[in-house]
């Protein structure tokens, strides 16, 4: 066993050593040797392509690139054509191309090729020219899929970090908008950008985030969701502590409130933090709707959270412990519908709840027409049949329907999934202890929320601790010109917003 282990280790160290040796080398004067060397690194890459040509000045050149990662048009018109016919020297300054770098390390060239650049080798030169000719397969900017809006912009992030930064900058053309770029991942380095308003965001928080990002040691970061797990404060909590959004306007709004955003290359989502529990209940549309409408919606959302976490629990508690709280008429109708059901209300609730969550997950992955069918078959027909077969009672179906609807009032999908998870322990504790259990359940949830801190900010802000002036944007959304302060929960350096006044009267 140990022998095997030893050999493995030896082998590993050998291979890494070899790899390092070959890539750490610099270019030599010999073009063919250089080419051979690079080609050997890409021996199993069928998309590795090269073009050998004589420049106008007469030197032998080779252009290397990975097919489909580069822009053929640019390659032909802006590099090959001028070099072969127009200019006399192969020189960084002479070639009419916007971004050219000069490198002599093989490893740099390798990285450049892998990220879509083209490399020009010239006979007798120890420096290679690297052209930014990237042209990844990209989709065009489209409207956000998971956060559709009625009144906001219809642009969502796409899979390119450069484009995404540009989208944000369009909202905030300000010198103070700072973007710090990091490369995360050993095997496949991914570009990660930390964005914040320099004079607003708290430098301590920014330093903390920077530190956390730099400490990540992984192969690669594929999606923003993976990054979250490395940087959030409480990875084992049910609640999300970092907002994932695909809307540039939402990011801009949060940046203005003093939070920071993180963009990850290849991912159409941006991260926003530090968030508090209650921030997840507002969306960017809230500020475009009339404030009364928004207030009403917000009340509905909090109510939805309450219902979605505990309505089945209340149903179970009432039926198994405190039937007294029902008026007689209601008691009779529930009793009549329950008499056909042979199961304990908890089992009944679990059957319906699990099927409802199943329908939800199933239809989320399916295309729209099929998803609708699944919803109808699952929701309507299954529910109806279950009642007729005497597996669940009528009232239970109503309870589950209301619960499921309430789950989707909550605008953030992460929070609504946590709510779905919380619902089950609540149901169990209600079936064991009735209303006392529900109350204790709420206390535990509250204690967990209050005990959490996200980037040094209490997660329960602004409700516990109470920050009254921040309540202007909690349940009741005050008119925008009434909200002068930036939220305390973002812990900003600059607490006042700029020029947030509305002239009163005719003055």
């Amino acid at each position: 066993m140990s022998l095997l282990h030893f050999f493995k280790k030896q082998l590993q160290s050998l291979s890494t050593k070899h790899h390092q040796d070959s890539s750490m080398q610099s270019l030599s004067h010999d073009l063919t040797a250089n080419f051979k060397h690079i080609q050997s690194l890409f021996s199993y890459a069928p998309d590795f392509t090269y073009k050998s040509f004589m420049s106008k000045s007469g030197s032998h050149c080779m252009l290397l690139f990975l097919d489909n990662l580069v822009d053929q048009e640019k390659l032909n018109n802006q590099i090959l054509k001028p070099l072969q016919y127009d200019i006399n020297q192969v020189n960084k300054d002479a070639i009419p191309f916007d971004r050219i770098e000069e490198k002599n390390k093989i490893s740099d060239l390798e990285n450049a090729l892998l990220t879509g650049n083209s490399v020009l080798l010239e006979e007798g030169q120890t420096n290679a020219l690297i052209f930014s000719t990237q042209n990844f397969p990209l989709r065009s900017i489209s409207e956000p899929k998971t956060e559709s809006t009625l009144k906001g912009s219809q642009q969502g992030f796409i899979e390119s970090i450069g484009k995404n930064i540009a989208l944000i900058r369009r909202y905030l053309p300000n010198r103070q908008l700072m973007i710090k770029s990091y490369s995360v991942g050993k095997r496949a380095p991914t570009q990660v950008a930390l964005i914040f308003l320099h004079d607003v965001a708290n430098p301590e928080i920014i330093a903390e985030v920077e530190d956390r990002i730099q400490q990540i040691q992984v192969d690669s970061i594929i999606n923003t969701g993976e990054l979250i797990e490395y940087i959030e404060d409480h990875p084992s909590s049910v609640f999300p502590q970092i907002l994932q959004t695909e809307r540039p306007d939402a990011v801009a709004s949060h940046l203005l409130q003093g939070r920071f955003a993180i963009l990850v290359d290849h991912s159409p989502y941006s991260l926003v933090a530090p968030m508090t529990f209650f921030n997840f209940f507002s969306v960017i549309d809230d500020y475009s709707n009339r404030w009364m409408t928004t207030t009403f919606f917000r009340f509905l959302r909090y109510w939805g959270f309450f219902i979605a976490t505990s309505l089945p629990a209340f149903y179970i508690a009432t039926l198994t412990f405190s039937y007294e709280i029902l008026p007689v008429d209601l008691l009779f109708s529930i009793g009549e519908s329950r008499i056909q059901v042979p199961f304990h209300p908890l089992i009944e609730a679990l059957i319906m709840e699990v099927s409802s969550v199943t329908i939800n997950i199933a239809s989320a992955r399916l295309t729209a027409p099929v998803g609708q069918t699944v919803g109808i078959v699952g929701g309507v027909i299954l529910g109806q049949a279950a009642v007729q077969a005497g597996i669940v009672s009528n009232i239970m179906v109503i309870v589950i329907a209301i619960t499921t609807l309430s789950t989707f009032i909550i605008p953030n999908t992460d929070v609504s999934s946590s709510v779905q998870i919380i619902r089950f322990p609540m149901m169990i504790i209600a079936s064991l202890f009735g209303f006392t259990g529900i109350s204790i359940g709420y206390m535990i949830i509250a204690a967990l929320i209050i005990n959490m801190e996200s980037f040094g900010v209490s997660f329960g802000n602004p409700v516990s601790p109470i920050h009254l002036h921040e309540w202007k944007d909690l349940m009741i959304r005050f008119p925008n010109w009434k909200i002068h302060e930036r939220p305390v929960s973002a812990d900003t350096v600059q607490a006042q917003r700029d020029g947030n006044s509305r002239q009163s009267g005719d003055q």
Binding site: F321, S322, E324, I325, L326, P327, L330, F433, G434, F435, T436, G437, I438, S439, I440, Y442, M443, I444, A446, A447, L448, I450, N451, S458, G460, V463, S464, P465, I466, L468
Partner: protein, 366 residues
């Protein structure tokens, strides 16, 4: 010196922590207790109890102002020397610990009587200790955040109690001072148990960030508490006759039992369940303060091991010993008696002593 700075609380947090500590199981029995002691003038005793509490609270703050970075546990050895000071500290620790125990065993017995008569005390104890542990382990700041949450979460409860006022009988309050003023004064003693909790300023003051407004904070907390106690008592008196109140052990819950809405009836069941957070926050405060005393005495910085010991002791106690309502009543009477000495007499004494002590010290220096 800023030992408590890492856990500082704002004035708002301070108010709510005091207020929610004061509001415990006293609300359920207060109308009966004052009816027993005073009769239908009992509400005046509550007002007097409030004033007395305010006076003592102000003295406590005045005392603490001279020692802004120390809790009472650290002041006492300063005042009286190491041995006597620590002896008093031990008494204080026992006092707060027994206070916490009375409240938690009391609420368990109330829950058992009103909603879960067949459940074993041990099971409920385990259930209640989960949130108690989660909150207590985090220290003062999270406790006060929690108190704020509890305040918001239970804001509907005073409204619910108010809603029972519709058939109020004003004649029940006449004549005022029927048995004379001395009789009303005697009843003040019985109301003090319900105001108990403001003495936490002794220990919470060093945590307060905005120390200038400490007096205002305590008075607001007392007033909020008075608001609840007085309205509960007034409504109980106006709805029930004196003879009837004496017949109820927990008149407040009987009051809630009368509410009937089209959707829900028997609101005392959800009320009692959702009043639990309020009661547990006063358990948490008393428990934490006694743990703070233990850590001060043993010069440790971490209170969680002691927390575990207390929780374990409570759990074991709840398995082997089930106090009857009577026993609880007797123990809480003792405790009230002790608290009158410790909180009222001792605070006043301490305040007077501190005046002399500081003058003496100044002279010694001069």
């Amino acid at each position: 010196m800023q030992k408590y700075a890492y856990n500082q609380i704002s004035l708002m947090q301070y108010i709510f922590l005091l207020y929610k500590t004061q509001l415990g199981i006293g609300v359920f029995t207060l109308p009966r207790i004052v009816a027993e002691d005073v009769g239908h003038d009992g509400w005046i005793s509550i007002l007097l109890g409030y004033m007395l509490s305010n006076i003592v609270s102000i003295l406590v703050i005045k005392l603490m102002e001279k020692h802004p970075d120390q809790t009472l546990y650290e002041i006492l050895p300063c005042f009286f020397g190491k041995w006597v000071g620590n002896l008093i500290n031990i008494i204080l620790i026992l006092f707060t610990l027994i206070g916490a125990s009375i409240v938690i065993f009391g609420i368990i017995s109330i829950v058992q009587v009103w909603s879960m008569p067949k459940s074993h005390q041990f099971v409920l104890m385990l259930l209640f200790l989960v949130p108690v542990y989660l909150v207590t382990k985090q220290g003062v700041r999270n406790m006060s955040n929690y108190a704020q949450f509890v305040f918001l979460f239970t804001m509907w409860q005073p409204l619910l109690i108010m809603s029972t006022i519709y058939d109020a009988e004003i004649l029940n309050f006449l004549p005022i001072f029927s048995e004379g003023i001395p009789h009303v004064l005697e009843g003040v003693r019985g109301t003090l148990f319900s105001f108990m909790g403001f003495e936490m300023s002794f220990f919470l003051y060093p945590f307060l960030k905005d120390k200038k407004h400490a007096i205002r904070g305590v008075i607001i907390a007392n007033t909020l508490c008075l608001n609840i106690l007085l309205s509960v008592t007034l409504i109980c008196f106006s709805k029930f006759s004196q003879e009837e109140i004496l017949d109820f052990i927990w008149p407040t819950l009987n009051l809630l039992k009368t509410i009937q809405t089209p959707v829900l009836e028997r609101l005392e069941i959800p009320f009692l369940s959702f009043y639990l957070p309020v009661v547990l926050i006063s358990v948490v405060t008393y428990l934490y303060i006694s743990l703070l005393g233990i850590t001060t005495l043993t010069k440790k910085s971490n209170h969680i091991p002691y927390l575990w010991i207390v929780l374990l002791a409570w759990t074991i106690l709840s398995i082997f010993y089930t106090p009857s309502i009577n026993t609880l009543g007797i123990v809480s009477d003792w405790w009230t008696e002790a608290s009158i000495y410790i909180v009222f007499y001792f605070s006043v004494f301490l305040w007077g002593y501190s005046l002399i002590y500081h003058r003496w010290q100044k002279r010694g220096l001069g």
